[in-house]
């Protein structure tokens, strides 16, 4: 069970989770709508009795290998070079999703699909066609154990990918003629062939009805606070199986599972300010999810904080001073501000940077305080007794996953990278990861920030008060929980007089950025909290509590909505439900 994590109310459990990459090449009008249709309906499906167990992966792998052999041997157009590399990747999804609002089931869906991505490269490792429409062709393949039916789709997708590669290479070469690149890097890194057959994942065949009742029950707790405008609970149980075959001889398959349950709600303060809270629990199997009592308690607590937020005073216009982030809030900060800068993405064609982002020229420079280390480790499945979700053995380019120290004593020592080299990093460190229909890109797995000098929570709190006193401030600030985009959800004043806390609302950060991480971070805790992201490419971020010397918090400039024009319908029970 993981710590409280906030998430947007509507976004977390959407059906449409797969981003479609454009650049199919000239394709049938059927294909894009079909994929869109299926992506949207992947999780908008059967509430009927559980479907029969999925076919085994053997037939799918065999079909991919057979078509790969044929393509390698025969695929050649006049006037276009034969491919030097071909890759097939199939992502098989099977998911069950349900949502409840105000105590009643609103939706319930079960669906599965197999998404195929074909990349054909022409040219060579130094310069190839991986550009524009040459970056891959997407399609679907049958769920059935039917070699011919599967090969038929793979055949057509490979054909499109090869033709797209032909055009893409010309387009790329033409574009490059207009540019001068200082230190060219190869387009594609060499890698050794790997055989890696791991067990596939299957969705639990348990009866999910108790879970449906649970999300109804927890969303029904709104009765204790009829002023709530929105209160919903949702679950998503899913397995993802990966299949990978390339022309270099790599054959791989593996599977993973994710079970999540969440509750989210919103209310408005008397002045119209919108207040939102949410909480999500994640586990690798059903048994890891919270028991009913625990989940209801968490829900009740969340409701309580919404009430408190409604009554809380609005933050002052500006605060400048020390701020302590709980480990929960700190993991959000690391996710938003540090994680993206560690990705060694290739810059746009012709650009001369090493990579993109604020740390692209900071290789070997100090980017964080010298007591901070950051490591990315795809081998871990738990940390301090809590589950991690970023683990894998082989990335989505067939390269063995590696543990990568990224920041040592505050210095940036590496980037996460796939098979697309960047300056000074010619070889993949196994971090080329992709969503079902997207192309691989450098991506975190389990990103862990640690302090070389961890301080206990009580000490951090004392230090917060000390720093506030030094500035003659009546209080310091404590961030307990953040929402997406570093939205402040639970923020407290901590009074220097006696250390008591006061909840405030309506605040936003003024200057929380990479610079303040480098210069204002003065202490860190020991116990980590984990924030996991399970949509698209799963990864986890762990961080202890973080104490900053001076940050700015200000009153939100956002306009407020009016309150509902009329009262909600009276509840049919005369007494509000008692919430334990």
């Amino acid at each position: 069970m993981t710590k409280t994590k906030t998430a947007t109310i509507t976004a977390t459990m959407t059906c449409v989770r797969l981003a479609l990459k454009s650049g199919y090449g000239l394709a049938s009008h059927l294909r894009a709508p079909l994929i869109a249709f299926v992506s949207i309906f992947l999780l908008c499906a059967a509430n009927l009795p559980a479907r029969a167990a999925n076919p085994s992966g053997d037939v799918l792998l065999r079909a991919l290998k057979e078509e790969m052999e044929r393509s390698k041997a025969q695929l050649k157009m006049d006037n276009v070079a034969a491919p030097y590399y071909i890759e097939y990747r199939v992502t098989e999804l099977d998911a069950f999703e349900a949502s409840a609002i105000f105590g009643a089931l609103r939706s319930q869906q079960r669906g599965s699909g197999r998404f195929l991505r074909v990349v054909v490269r022409i040219g060579d490792y130094k310069q190839d066609s991986y550009y524009g429409s040459g970056e891959g062709t997407v399609d679907m393949v049958p769920l059935d154990d039917d070699v011919f039916a599967i090969r038929h789709r793979v055949w057509l997708a490979t054909d499109r990918a090869y033709k797209a590669a032909g055009e893409a290479l010309s387009a790329k070469q033409a574009a490059l003629k207009q540019m001068k690149v200082d230190q060219p890097v190869d387009d594609f890194a060499q890698a050794t062939a790997v055989q890696s057959i791991e067990p596939l994942a299957r969705l639990s065949t348990a009866d999910f009805t108790p879970w449906l009742r649970l999300i109804e029950e927890s969303s029904g707790l709104y009765r204790s606070d009829p002023l709530l405008q929105h209160f919903e609970s949702a679950l998503r149980f899913e397995v993802v199986n990966h299949y990978f075959v390339n022309s270099e001889g790599t054959v791989a398959c593996s599977g993973s599972s994710q079970y999540t349950i969440l509750v989210a709600g919103s209310t408005q303060a008397a002045d119209g300010m919108l207040l939102q809270r949410s909480h999500q629990d994640e586990a690798r199997d059903l048994a890891g999810l919270p028991a009913r009592e625990k989940f209801l308690q968490t829900t009740a607590h969340m409701l309580e904080t919404l009430k408190q937020l409604r009554e809380a005073p609005v933050v002052e216009e500006e605060y400048r001073g020390p701020i302590l982030f709980s480990n929960d809030a700190a993991s959000s900060v690391v996710t938003e501000l540090i994680q993206p800068n560690l990705l060694g993405k290739k810059p746009k064609l012709g650009e001369n940077g090493r990579t993109t982002g604020p740390w692209s020229s900071s290789y070997k420079m100090r980017v964080l305080p010298d007591f901070i280390n950051v490591v990315d480790d795809p081998a871990l499945t738990t940390l301090a007794g809590q589950p991690l979700f970023g683990d894998y053995k082989l990335d989505d380019e067939g390269v063995k996953a590696q543990r990568v120290p990224l920041v040592e004593k505050g210095q940036l020592v590496s980037y996460l990278i796939g098979r697309e080299p960047i300056r000074d990093f010619a070889v993949s460190n196994g971090h080329g990861r992709a969503s079902a229909t997207g192309g691989p890109e450098p991506h975190a797995s389990n990103l862990i920030l640690e302090s070389a000098d961890p301080r206990p929570d009580a000490e951090l709190r004392k230090k917060l008060i000390e720093l506030a006193k030094q500035r003659n401030l009546p209080y310091g600030m404590y961030v307990e929980t953040l929402g997406p985009g570093l939205e402040l959800r639970l923020l407290y004043r901590v009074y220097t007089s006696d250390g008591h806390q006061e909840l405030v609302r309506g605040a936003v950060f003024g200057d929380l950025d990479v610079r303040s991480l480098r210069n204002e971070l003065v202490a860190a805790g020991g116990a980590p909290a984990i924030e996991s992201h399970l949509e698209s490419v799963p990864f986890s971020v762990a961080s202890p509590a973080l104490l900053f010397d001076e940050l700015q918090i200000k009153r939100t400039p956002a306009s407020k909505l009016g309150l509902p024009e009329y009262a909600p319908p009276p509840l049919s029970d005369s007494a509000a439900a008692v919430v334990k």
Binding site: P33, A46, V141, L143, D144, E216
Partner: protein, 609 residues
Amino acid sequence: MNSRKAVLRLRFLVLFLPVILLTLILLTQSAPAHARTSDAKNAKAKKDQKSSSAAAAAGPGEAQLLAIFEKELHRGQTELSKLDPAPYFVSYNITDSDSLAVIGTQGGILTSTHDRERVADVSMRIGKPDLDNTHERDRNSGITSGALPLENDSDAIARTLWHLTYEEYRKASKAYTNVKTKTAVRAKDEDESPDFSVEKPSSYIDTAAPPAMPDQKAWEDLARRYSAAFRRYQIQESLVYIYGGNDRSYLITTEGTKIVTTDAIFRVMIEGELLADDGMRLERAETFQYSDPSKLPAQAEVDAAVKKIADDLNALRAAPLAEPFSGPALLSGRAAAVFFHEVLGHRVEGQRQKGREEGQTFTKKVNEKILPDFLSVTDDPTLRTLGGTELSGYYRYDDEGMPAERVEVVKDGVLKNFLMGRMPVKNFGSSNGHGRAQAGKMPVGRQGNLIVTSSNTVPDAQLRARFIADIKKQGKPYGLYFEDIEGGFTLTTRDLPQAFQVLPVMVWRVYADGRPDELVRGVDIVGTPLTTLTQIEATGDTTSVFNGICGAESGSVPVSAAAPMILFSDMEVQKRKYGDTRPPILPPPPGADQPVAVKNGANEKGGAQ
């Protein structure tokens, strides 16, 4: 039935082009189409199932559900009437949909989904019927949609409806302020008819039980077997899409309307595609559609349809490219039906007669001759079947709760009426039951079943002889016969030419010198409506039906069109634009003769009878 069918999912199979007010009809063939044949295989009319044992459709649970909706509707109206501005009209239109969709290709299932959902459309009008928030461009302020709980929990449903209602109030009152400002500031419109017609409320509860939803596993096997039929042929892309949907809709309004209807639609769409050597993409599709799932086609019928698709595509691949041409043209009944849908049907939709952006081709031509005097056109959604074929555009009440009406659009060549929803236009102040929309959109006047009849018919064979005579008379080397078309679109806005384009698939050169007909490819029919319609010379005597889905501003709605074969003294065609992708480099993989993995029956060889 009401006209709303939850065709949201089918939207993805219709090509939507980005130009405003562009419409496309994905034309599908109902098999077989000719009205004259009383073919036992055609869908029989759905019998009125008034048996009292049909409890599923209208039981106590449903009465309770209606009560919840009505209570919250009236509570909202009462509360909002205390505000300024206050709504003068509110409606809730709630659809419970149960749908099944399976897609197969080459004997394997790509996806199989069963979906149940409940969606509410809250519609609100603020101001007065003469001028309200839905005026002109602000029309979409009249509707807000959202998902409702599936459980009949009164608190949860009422609270969700409450939320949607005040959201809609905010949208509508903001739009109303805009509308008042714009009306004060801008020049007056030519047409100052009201925004909302005055009508009597309706009440109707459909007690017929919907057909049972088919077994998902059985349909998966069906999709495997149907799609495996393509294994015999060298067709590149192919898909079989099987869709079934049962919708129960509840419409209640503050005017007292209460309509509860059921819609059931079950269809099989089979599509094949080939790339010609020069890169032209060739497509053919066949559709079977019924309101009763037990009528879905037998394997033999599907095999025959797949064979026709494959044969046609191969013939097209070998056919020469057509040249731009104008001269005599003969349209098959189905082709003519689509033609009328695009060229005439869309231009007699009520809302197109109003508004500064509309071309208003026919607005001022009421009581004038727009067609030859032997032609009449009606749009009749009350018709369930025509000559034994089920009509896709059948409904009893439209999406504004108005009873469907048979409308005489053109009588003996003279334009008489427009297809009206509750948005009046000059001289047409009332709805005639044609206000239709997809869930989530504001209804506008749309077609239902567009039927073209002729009082001057010639047997089809004789019509062809006349066609050849015309070709000779005009001194043309050939005329064109349009056997089948895949769709079309129409531009009706003022800032684009008043054109239409109908997309033929099977087109033949018919030679005056007795040579056999020659298939050609790459042709689009073009023209301007006012002229083209007057060039109709004669018609055949057999009516063909076309069932399809029409997309326009108020979304996708099921429609049909019916017409006899039509001879045009002059028709213009242009070359179709096409891509330059080469056909696949490698042949298909081996193994087409492998047995298809059918789960619930014995293994069959791919494509076996």
